[in-house]
């Protein structure tokens, strides 16, 4: 049984209306959703889009608790804005089509593929990236478990996996082995690190008990 908290209500402060379309597509294609994420997404009414662009527009994002100002064309995904303009390169661009999970971030407490979200749609939302998991020099317990269980090789899928695991454990603090296999099914690795990843998620679950991390 998977329990998901209600998402934070969308703020009205954003300059641009959120586009239900791309968000719906993005979340719907996330295998990680395990049904629960789709429910909340589909329950929200689709806002009427306001015409934007095509020129760049100023946008304020909330990333890892900090306001970030960026000027982007409306077509720019959150992933590209983070990587190309903000300098947050932990999330990787691999498939760029909502398949592989290498760009995973947590938005309003839920796991999302940042390649399927437009930057303008991410306004007013609480975005957490791998960079915000732990202060410099420290490792979040999920990251630490990926190291100790060797759930990584080239490491290119790893930040996405760590964020997906973090989001999964936030909602499933005591997962079974089978739940881990299902819950992390939205991320792909080419080196073949899944054996270590499975162990890492279970180890992280154990480590995080009693000491919940933000």
């Amino acid at each position: 049984m998977i329990v998901v908290k209600s998402p934070n209500p969308p703020t009205k402060k954003g300059r641009v209306s959120r586009r239900g379309f791309i968000r719906g597509v993005g979340i719907g294609s996330t295998a990680l959703g395990v049904g629960a994420l789709e429910k909340t997404a589909l329950a929200e009414p689709v806002a009427i889009p306001k015409t934007m662009g095509p020129e760049a527009v100023p946008v304020t994002l909330k990333i890892n608790g900090q306001p970030v100002n960026v000027t982007v064309e409306p077509r720019v995904t959150l992933l590209d804005a983070m990587r190309n303009q903000i300098g947050l390169t932990g999330a990787k661009r691999v498939c760029d089509r909502g398949t592989c999970g290498a760009c995973t971030v947590i938005i309003d407490g839920k796991v999302n593929y940042s390649c399927t979200i437009l930057t303008i749609d991410a306004q007013g939302r609480d975005i957490q990236t791998i960079e915000g998991l732990a202060p410099a020099g420290k490792l979040h317990p999920v990251s630490a478990a990926f190291v100790s269980q060797d759930g990584q090789q080239c490491g290119y899928c790893t930040p996405g996996f760590v964020m997906a695991a973090k989001g999964f454990l936030d909602h499933n603090p005591n997962p079974t082995y089978e739940q881990v296999q299902h819950g992390l099914g939205g991320n792909l690795c080419r080196c073949g690190t899944y054996v270590g990843v499975r162990k890492a998620v279970l180890e992280a679950a154990k480590e995080m008990k009693g000491a919940r991390h933000a």
């Binding site: 080239c154 099914g185 990843v197």
Partner: protein, 712 residues
């Protein structure tokens, strides 16, 4: 001559230990930087225009509209009018712009006219290949015709097919280049840090010594990232045309799957004959393959069982209008293992013999019978073969059928040519410098372990520098030769540096250097541990002179530190739903000998990764070409399918860590365990459902078709 030999197994403090990878924290926290992560305010974005046609002549290219776009800093034609394009995805033009979006717009504004030519993109039906198929000469040993005609011989014939796969590196191919007045900086995604600068220099006709290469991390290569590549050269020109600003050009995913490397296919009609006791008497194979316009080389057939007395082999290379082949984790071996082991499993079924017994019966025609015999026993034990195996098709009565299959493989390994420098400073700090790269196999960790072991220091006391072409050159990471090369050169440079330190300390202590050793952070008398000094105190005796010593591994003269030649046995346990055709992995056992294991934790990860890559190839991975348009139908990660975390079952890695194997020195591991996986799974499926599925990957459609007797 200093003694470089590895310390005895029981004396090792760091080598052989399950140490976590040193760059694990950086990777798992998103702090590790890859070429694709390069970020600087003045960075420009490069992009390629590639051919939409598989075979065409370029009539004209018009760059004018692209050049006029605001934010575009450079536009270059790569192809010229009259050029013949031989595959979809071939590079036509390149642009650089201040943003990726503008670069993409500029690409769309380039106008190219093509004259479309007839193409061939599918090679399965050899009769359609016409002059595109080039037959190599027939190889004959003994008298195969006579052997096949023997009245007592049991003969089987089969057709087996394994498609082209693409490397699909998660970090696509590409680089950042900054071509300034006084030199060129290259930040590549490469398996060849020491060599890629020279490759780019040759293409640019620019002095290699003025090219600086730097790479901390690489997001996958698997044999496809050795060269500077066409796009590397173009990136350099784009930078030069943009006033020397850095340009980042990483391939788009579709181009990554089409032009950045693939593994050749292999198709074969195979006939095998044996005596009733299972002794193989004859082999005949007619094989063909493509690796692009250059055709495709022959897999080594028959694989492992090379000394079958009577053989006839012929092979045709089919030139297709598809992207070119590149080395792919044990080139040609997975195909050879699949073709050979499938035919032998079919032979065993015909003989009503357990295939393990068939393999055992014929080990004398392999190069390492004793190793395989022991490995067959070990793998059988781990997968409980005797308990779980049943004759082909005689398992479960219900719709879900369980089956077991096996495969055999061999690989070289050895150590590539490598140089290393070990520096010991008067303050006790140590630097190890080597122009190698860590492709995710754990090279950083392994080098550091060897240095720490040699110097008697903890891992944290060794500062390692890799990933830069100003460091002592080390070979490219290919052929499973990195760990052998870097461990040997590091061992030698560290022994040499330590010996210098011992000379200084011995003079102070009034003893001979040979009487001293480094252990647990101290320099002490070998026969009197009480007489010692700390590492720090010893280094302080150097005064103001640091020690800097080199060590080199020569690929041809490993001097006992590394060696080549391994064997492995793999076994798969699968369940096949005969109503849906879905194959589920239950368990996979990989038994591998790899000589001296520097880090069993990382070695296990290599085996797991190799097996998972093989599971992808056995069950889902395949390049799909469209016969009519000549285009690749699945150049994306939605339909070019890779296994997910729930698709792999249990994987059991057994490393043959024994004194007998250890004394062979270090042997590479990246490739061998990736070889037999497809074969073992295909055999397990045949065992489960009672019929051979002629083509891998074993998709539900193919499994159902085979069950209905519609084998292609």
């Amino acid at each position: 001559m200093p003694d470089y030999s590895w310390p005895p197994m029981n004396d090792r403090r760091v080598i052989g230990k399950r140490i976590s990878r040193l760059d694990g924290g950086a990777k798992a926290s998103g702090r590790a930087k890859y070429a694709s992560d390069f970020y600087r305010k003045d960075l420009l974005f490069g992009m390629l225009l590639t051919s939409p046609h598989a075979h065409a002549k370029v009539v004209s290219i018009n760059l004018d509209d692209a050049k006029r776009l605001k934010g575009v800093t450079a536009v270059r034609a790569i192809a010229a009018p009259g050029d013949e394009i031989q595959w979809e995805g071939a590079e036509i033009a390149a642009v650089a712009a201040t943003s990726e979006e503008i670069a993409r717009d500029a690409i769309r504004k380039i106008k190219v006219e093509y004259q479309i030519l007839p193409h061939l993109v599918k090679e399965e039906d050899l009769s359609k290949a016409g002059p595109r198929a080039k037959a190599a000469g027939e190889q004959v040993t003994g008298d195969p015709d006579k052997a096949f005609q023997d009245a007592d011989a049991v003969t089987v014939e089969g057709f087996y097919a394994i498609p082209v796969l693409t490397h699909c590196c998660l970090e696509s191919h590409g680089n950042v280049v900054e071509w300034k007045q006084d030199g060129l900086n290259l930040w590549p995604s490469t398996q060849n840090v020491s060599g890629i600068g020279g490759d780019l220099a040759t293409s640019l006709k620019y002095p290699a010594g003025k090219i600086k290469v730097e790479m901390d991390h690489i997001g996958g290569g698997f044999g496809s990232k050795f060269a500077a590549d066409r796009w590397g050269v173009e990136t350099a020109y784009l930078s030069q045309m943009s006033g020397g600003r850095p340009v980042k050009l990483m391939l788009e995913r579709r181009d990554e799957l089409m032009i950045a490397g693939n593994r050749p296919s292999a198709f074969a009609k195979i006939k095998v004959a044996a005596k009733k006791d299972g002794t193989i008497t004859a082999w005949q194979s007619e094989s063909w393959a493509t690796g692009g316009i250059g055709g495709g080389g022959s897999p080594p057939l028959p694989y492992v069982f090379t000394e079958i007395p009577n053989k006839r082999m012929s092979h045709s290379a089919v030139a297709t209008n598809t992207g070119g082949v590149r080395a792919w984790r044990a080139p040609n071996h997975p195909q050879a293992s699949y073709l050979t082991c499938s035919a032998l499993e079919d032979l065993a079924a015909e003989l009503k013999m357990d295939p393990v017994d068939l393999f055992l019966k014929n080990l004398e025609v392999t190069a390492r019978a004793d190793t395989y015999r022991a490995q067959l026993a070990k793998a059988s034990e781990l997968i409980e073969w005797k308990k779980n195996w049943h004759p082909r098709g005689q398992g479960d009565a219900g719709p879900v059928k369980r089956g077991l299959g096996l495969a055999i493989h061999t690989w070289g390994g050895g150590g590539h040519t490598s140089q290393c420098r070990t520096v010991i400073n008067p303050d006790g700090s140590v630097q190890v410098e080597i122009g190698s790269q860590d492709v995710g196999s754990g090279t950083r960790t392994v080098i550091t372990q060897v240095a720490a072991e040699t110097l008697g220091l903890p891992m944290g006391a060794v500062q390692l520098k890799i990933g830069n072409n100003s460091l002592p050159p080390s070979g490219p990471s290919g052929g499973s030769t990195t760990v052998g090369g870097v461990s040997s050169s590091t061992r030698k440079s560290s022994v040499n540096a330590l010996n210098k330190l011992l000379e200084t300390v011995a003079a102070v202590m009034g003893v001979q250097p040979e009487q001293l050793k480094a252990i647990d952070g101290r320099i002490q008398m070998k026969d009197n541990p009480a007489k010692s000094m700390t590492w720090q105190a010893a280094c302080a005796k150097l005064g103001t002179n640091k020690i800097s010593e080199m060590g080199a591994n020569d690929q041809r003269k490993p001097e006992g530190l590394n060696s080549s030649g391994v064997g492995g046995i793999q076994m798969a346990d699968v369940s096949v739903d005969s109503e849906t055709g879905i194959v589920k992995m239950n368990r996979f056992v990989a038994v591998q000998d790899i000589g001296l294991v520097v880090n069993p934790k990382l070695a296990d990860s290599q085996v797991h990764g190799a097996v998972i890559m093989g599971i992808c190839g056995a069950l889902m991975e395949e390049r799909v070409m469209d016969e009519y348009t000549g285009r690749m139908l699945n150049p994306d990660m939605e339909f070019y399918k890779l296994a997910g975390i729930g698709d792999i079952g249990e994987i059991i890695s057994h490393l043959d860590i024994t004194p007998e194997h250890d004394k062979r020195g270090v042997v590479g591991l990246g490739e061998p365990p990736a070889i037999g996986v497809v074969a073992a799974i295909a055999n397990a499926v045949a065992n489960a459902i009672g019929v051979r599925v002629s083509h891998v990957p074993l998709t539900p459609m193919r499994v159902l078709a085979a069950l209905e007797g519609r084998n292609a």
